[in-house]
């Protein structure tokens, strides 16, 4: 079966963090931003499918554990030895889905559209790691968690995907229903920076 056609945009997508983000204070040491819509695909597969999938997506799938590749505003996050999260901010998922399916036809793999499953949050500023470490136990020093790293981890009791784009810029991808919980705890954690 082929995935459905693109959304004709008669209905607007809901933003689960809209109200929280609107009420958020600007704190330069740890700026908090709700990121916009994106196409998100989970790609899993055997060796033969990995190359063609990356080619069709436009970003080669990284083979190093917990690293991501980026290009043309798209990102391929390594989440497991045979698992990648493909992120294309602002893109429609259906054409991407179709392109990757076409490129990997007949090769053992799984491609699933999870665009609406999660939402993105950006945390940026020189205290970003301090804020994250209030709910995340990882060593976020640049030695241990360099720019270009991504991993599935936790923030308090919620599972997140944590990405470091720059020394003081992190992105969090969190399932929709956990997003307000994560946002409120990020707000709580950065409160003392006011």
């Amino acid at each position: 079966m082929v995935e459905s056609a693109a959304v004709t945009a008669s209905l607007a997508p809901a933003r689960p963090l809209g109200a929280l983000a609107a009420a958020s204070r600007v704190l330069p040491a740890a700026r908090l931003t709700a990121l916009g819509d994106a196409a998100r695909l989970v790609f899993r597969g055997r060796e033969a499918a990995i190359g063609p999938a990356g080619e069709a997506f436009g970003v080669a799938l990284p083979r190093e554990a917990c690293r991501f590749n980026a290009g043309n505003g798209r990102f391929a996050f390594w989440l497991g030895p045979d698992e990648w999260l493909l992120l294309a901010p602002g893109a429609e998922p259906a054409p991407l889905f179709a392109a990757i399916e076409a490129a990997t036809a007949g090769l053992p793999h799984s491609l699933v559209d999870v665009s609406a499953r999660s939402v993105g949050i950006e945390l940026a500023g020189d205290k970003a790691a301090f804020v994250l470490n209030q709910g995340n136990p990882l060593d976020l020093s640049l030695d241990a968690f360099p720019v270009g790293m991504c991993t599935r981890t936790v923030f308090h009791k919620a599972e997140i995907v944590l990405v470091r784009h720059a020394p003081d810029v992190f992105h969090i991808d969190v399932w929709r229903s956990f997003a307000p919980y994560v946002w409120e705890l990020l707000e709580d954690a950065r409160r003392e920076l006011a």
Partner: protein, 1011 residues
């Protein structure tokens, strides 16, 4: 009030910054840099509390976190009140308000002090013996009374308005304690490039150096060396200095918990600051530089206000510019008493006498004391003190050949004692390192390590300032080296301490290793003396001896019987003396008595610290569907299902739950209702081997299910019992859209992944959770098709093209949808799956389209009633983990021809098909108005002799508005064979008669499903 007991100059207080504060309602003044203790002492106040059991007047014993007596309540307001704070650790701020505890009506006149006179009736373990009769009175009467009488402070009963945060940190070397050893260790580790955290419980870093006036290090006065060293450390970006931070717990794999007090010392803390921060530190290597604690001497009446540890008195003089009195008697078993005497004398305190337990008094410090004209008395003990609320005199007696001679009374306003120093091995012991008795040092010292840690300085028995500094430096270097070669948190690393690569010449008085453990001789009738061992729990030498007489041999038993060492100070000042007394009483060497275990926390820790941000709305994630807010706006009552909030029912004005549910049920049966089913778990199973995988995981056969069709799937555990169920859609040959129960979603995914990864890694199939990708809108009822038809594009909704249990892809208002024709109500029904970003918008559109049919939003309660009317089970309600598919009438869903599936072999066991297994049936009460209680037991004859044989229990029970009567589902032994018979449901007052029926109450032929 004036600071009559201030020295003229000196100390680390800021004399230019006076502060006023209140204690028990009276206003006093102190200086910035004071603790509450030092400021009160400067004002001549020593009486600060009443003891736990006997309500004896108590003063300060120490100047640090080992303080057992001076526990106070510090309150900023009614909610911000902290009881049991050690006044020796409370930093003074302008306007601080403190109160004494455990006294009534006042500190100087305390009615509870009658306990002191009643002491002969309150020996150790008295509550095990005295209050045993009449039965039951302990709980109702004695315990509440004793608790009210004995005790510490009172916790505030208002919610804590302060914030607490929790942080994680990682470092190469964590140094605990910023005294000379810790500073040197931090310096060494930092110089070799390691990432270092140095924490100390005190407001100022420096430890014992803060009390040094004469020592020099590397040619500088100790205070200057300290300032320079701190400046060096501060300037390094690989060092984090953390004052006011207690390392209170040592957990496996070098996971150390630190409590940082952020605002406790501030007069007006900012509202955005946390009161305290928990730091969870993962350190590659740990250096424990916890120092040593001075031991009191155990002599009669050693607990009067004005009786202090000698080195603490020296700290008050040198660090805080505060005299503990005007005239002191010193009782010592080591040179620390002399050092204190000389420093206090220099500060202007007159030293009436030094009673030295030792016969031989020689060495530099005693010589200097003699030269200073101090009355030094060797072989002399204190046999008692006098004074009501403050010590007024001490009785000294000479010991000759073990016999205590006549006492001489010497007037004084303070008694300073020193029994030597006990290495602080608390953290080492918490790390499960093995302690070893060192006879020469007379102390337990760290032996074999379990964690990657090492001790440095006085806490491992090193003494002498230069030796301590150099040991610290060596341990710091070794720790940094070990951190560089670190590969794993493997336990038991015990690298030998290296010689330091740097010499740190220092000169300071050398105290040697003399000391005393146990109770000092006094020659008085022990029945009439109280020589305290544990000040906080009011345990005397006599109590410990009683425990040994009553048969206790292990220190663990003595501890529990007498409660020695069990107070909030964890026996910091008392443990070694208790060991000494038990050792003497049993005539057994100290190491044979054993040692109690040190447990976290090192000092009391607030609940707020542990709770952190996890309180109120963010205590736990509250998961809401995309449609949640619409339901809330339409008055839904919600129920918790796991972490989800689900709309329970939608009451209209004046409706209770019963009325709302009845209306919702009728609407679905008569016209159409809509239901938010988004919380259902969803898993996309994709890959060439998807069908094979489904065959193995579920009881059903999947190979022949055509794309575009749905099937109800049953999943078993390996033991053959029903684990989960759900409708599965085959989207394509290699793609299944699996649904699970709401609560079962993570469990089912983990179960599947477990098999896939460990048993069948060869299968080309992958699992992706799509629970939150899809909003699911169930539209149910005879008008369902008419409601959605105008909204759907690309799907032929006709009965023929889209039969019951089918799935099609198309769009709804332009939004891609996977449309299921499925029913959990027994009516014609559809489930509209749309990406959850559009969940609410599509829901609103369906609601609008359904208005002309009176579309009724319904909640989980109505869903439950409707499915019960149809006899559809809910896994977890009808099943309890011991039901086979056949037990719950799902035998039809088991693929008999299938080679294998998870649980198949278990189903073949004889007992799994025994005819008397509990089976799902319906129950109808003879009186249709009675709604049975869920969980009620079912019997054949309630009058049968006890134990009455139980036949089963009610699993679901509701009033059915459509049927106009109650209905129930039940699991009953051999239930299917009992259909048509009557059984009884006994209740506390009477038994209810029921008829066993088929479990389908409504539309048994299922004709309504197809519309």
């Amino acid at each position: 009030m004036t600071n009559r007991f201030r020295t003229a100059s000196g100390g680390r207080i800021d004399r230019a910054a006076p502060l006023s504060f209140r204690f028990d309602g009276q206003t006093f003044s102190g200086f910035k840099g004071d603790t509450l203790a030092s400021a009160l002492i400067a004002n001549g106040v020593h009486l600060v509390g009443r003891s736990f059991k006997y309500h004896r007047p108590r003063g300060f014993l120490s100047a640090g976190s080992d303080e057992p007596n001076a526990l106070v309540n510090v309150a900023r307001d009614a909610a911000r009140a902290a009881p049991n704070l050690r006044a020796t650790q409370v930093e003074l701020y302008e306007g601080l308000k403190a109160q004494s505890q455990n006294r009534w009506p006042s500190l100087s006149f305390d009615a509870g002090a009658v306990n002191d006179l009643a002491a002969p009736f309150l020996p150790a373990g008295f509550y095990y013996k005295t209050f045993m009769w009449p039965a039951g009175a302990w709980k109702r009467f004695y315990e509440p009374k004793i608790r009210a009488m004995a005790g510490l402070g009172v916790a505030p009963d208002l919610p804590d308005p302060d914030r607490y945060t929790q942080n994680h940190a990682h470092c190469d070397v964590l140094v605990v304690g910023a005294g000379p050893a810790g500073l040197a260790a931090a310096l060494a580790a930092a110089e070799s490039g390691a990432k270092v955290i140095l924490c100390d419980e005190q407001a100022e870093l420096g430890g014992s150096l803060l009390s040094e006036t004469t020592a020099t290090i590397e040619g500088k006065p100790a205070a200057d060396w300290l300032a320079a060293t701190l400046a060096t450390l501060t300037a390094r970006d690989n060092v984090t200095l953390m004052p006011r931070t207690t390392a209170f717990g040592y957990f496996p794999h070098n996971h150390i918990a630190l409590a940082e007090r952020v605002t406790e010392h501030l007069a007006a803390p900012g509202p955005d600051l946390p009161r305290e921060r928990l730091w969870e530190v993962r350190a590659k290597e740990v250096v424990i530089a916890a120092g040593a604690l001075e031991r009191p001497l155990v002599f009669p009446d050693n607990d009067r206000p004005g009786v202090l540890l000698a080195d603490s008195a020296r700290t008050y003089a040198n660090r805080y510019g505060t005299k503990v009195g005007e005239r002191a008697v010193i009782f010592t078993a080591c040179d620390a008493g002399y050092r204190a005497a000389l420093d206090l004398k220099a500060a202007g305190v007159s030293i009436a006498a030094i009673a030295d337990l030792r016969a031989e008094v020689s060495g530099e410090l005693p010589s200097r004391a003699l030269a200073a004209g101090i009355d030094v008395r060797p072989s002399t003990v204190l046999v008692g003190t006098k004074g009501r609320l403050r010590v007024a005199s001490a009785q000294l007696a000479k010991v000759t050949k073990g016999a205590v001679g006549p006492a001489e009374t010497i007037a004084c306003d303070s008694v300073l004692m020193s029994g030597g120093f006990t290495p602080s091995v608390h953290l080492f012991s918490q790390s499960r390192g093995k302690l070893v008795w060192d006879g020469a040092a007379g102390a337990y010292l760290p032996g074999t390590s379990v964690e990657r840690e090492r001790s440095a300085g006085a806490c491992r028995g090193v003494n002498g300032l230069q030796r301590v500094l150099e040991d610290g430096y060596a341990q710091g270097e070794a720790a940094a080296l070990a951190a560089r070669t670190y590969t794993s948190p493997a336990r038991g690393a015990t690298p030998a301490p290296a010689a330091p690569s740097r010499s740190i010449p220092a000169s300071a008085e050398d105290l040697g290793t003399d000391g005393f453990i146990g109770a000092t001789p006094h020659g008085r009738n022990p029945a009439f003396t109280k020589a305290f061992v544990d000040w906080q729990n009011d345990v005397t030498a006599k109590d410990l001896k009683l425990a040994t007489r009553e048969g206790m041999r292990s220190i663990e038993h003595v501890k529990r019987y007498t409660t020695t060492g069990m107070a909030t100070d964890q026996g910091k000042t008392s443990n070694m003396n208790a060991l000494g007394i038990v050792s003497e009483a049993l005539d057994t060497p100290v190491p044979k008595i054993g040692l109690t275990t040190f447990r976290p926390p090192f000092t009391p820790t607030t609940f707020g610290l542990f709770a952190g941000a996890a309180r109120g709305d963010v205590f736990d994630p509250v998961r809401k569907t995309a449609i949640h807010d619409w339901a809330a706006e339409h008055g839904a009552a919600f129920e918790d299902v796991g972490n989800w909030k689900r709309a329970h029912y939608f009451p209209r004005a004046g409706e209770d739950m019963h009325a709302a549910v009845a209306r919702e049920c009728k609407a679905v049966r008569a016209s159409v209702g809509m239901f938010d089913a988004s919380t259902l778990g969803k898993i996309e199973v994709v890959g060439p081997d998807a069908a094979e995988f489904m065959n193995r995981m579920y009881t059903n056969a999947w190979a022949k299910l055509e794309p575009g069709r749905l099937r109800y799937g049953v999943m078993l555990r390996e033991d053959g019992f029903v684990m989960d169920d759900g409708v599965v859609g085959r989207m394509a040959a290699d793609r299944f859209h699996v649904t699970t129960t709401t609560g079962g979603a993570p469990r089912v995914l983990a179960h599947m992944e477990d098999y896939l990864q460990t048993e069948w890694p060869d299968l080309d199939v992958w699992l992706t959770s799509t629970t939150e990708q899809w909003s699911v809108i169930a539209v149910q009822g005879p008008k369902a098709r008419e409601v959605i038809a105008p909204l759907i594009e690309g799907i032929d909704l006709s009965k023929e093209a889209f039969p019951h249990m089918s799935v099609r892809e198309g769009t709804i208002l332009g939004v891609p949808t996977r449309l299921f024709s499925v029913s959990f109500t027994g009516e014609l029904g559809f489930e509209i799956n749309v990406p959850s970003a559009y969940g609410r918008a599509v829901w609103e559109a369906v609601y609008a389209a359904g208005e002309r049919f009176g579309i009724t939003p319904y909640g989980t309660e109505t869903m439950h009633v409707l499915r019960a009317e149809k006899g559809y089970i809910i896994v977890g309600q009808e099943t309890d983990g011991t039901a086979t598919p056949d037990d719950v009438n799902l035998g039809w869903a088991v693929g008999k021809a299938k080679k294998d599936f998870v649980g198949k072999r278990s189903l073949l066991r004889e007992s799994m098909s025994a005819p008397d297994r509990r089976q799902l049936v319906g129950l109808k009460t003879t009186d249709p108005k009675i709604v049975l209680e869920e969980g009620a037991q079912i019997v054949a004859d309630p009058a049968a002799p006890v134990p009455v044989p139980m036949l089963g229990f009610v699993t679901s029970s509701y009033h059915s508005a459509v049927l106009g009567r109650s209905i129930a589902l039940a699991m009953v032994k051999g239930g299917r064979a009992r259909i048509g018979t009557k059984l009884m449901v006994p209740m506390p007052t009477h038994a209810i008669e029921v008829e066993v029926v088929e479990p389908v109450f409504y539309d048994p032929k299922g004709e309504r499903l197809n519309g």
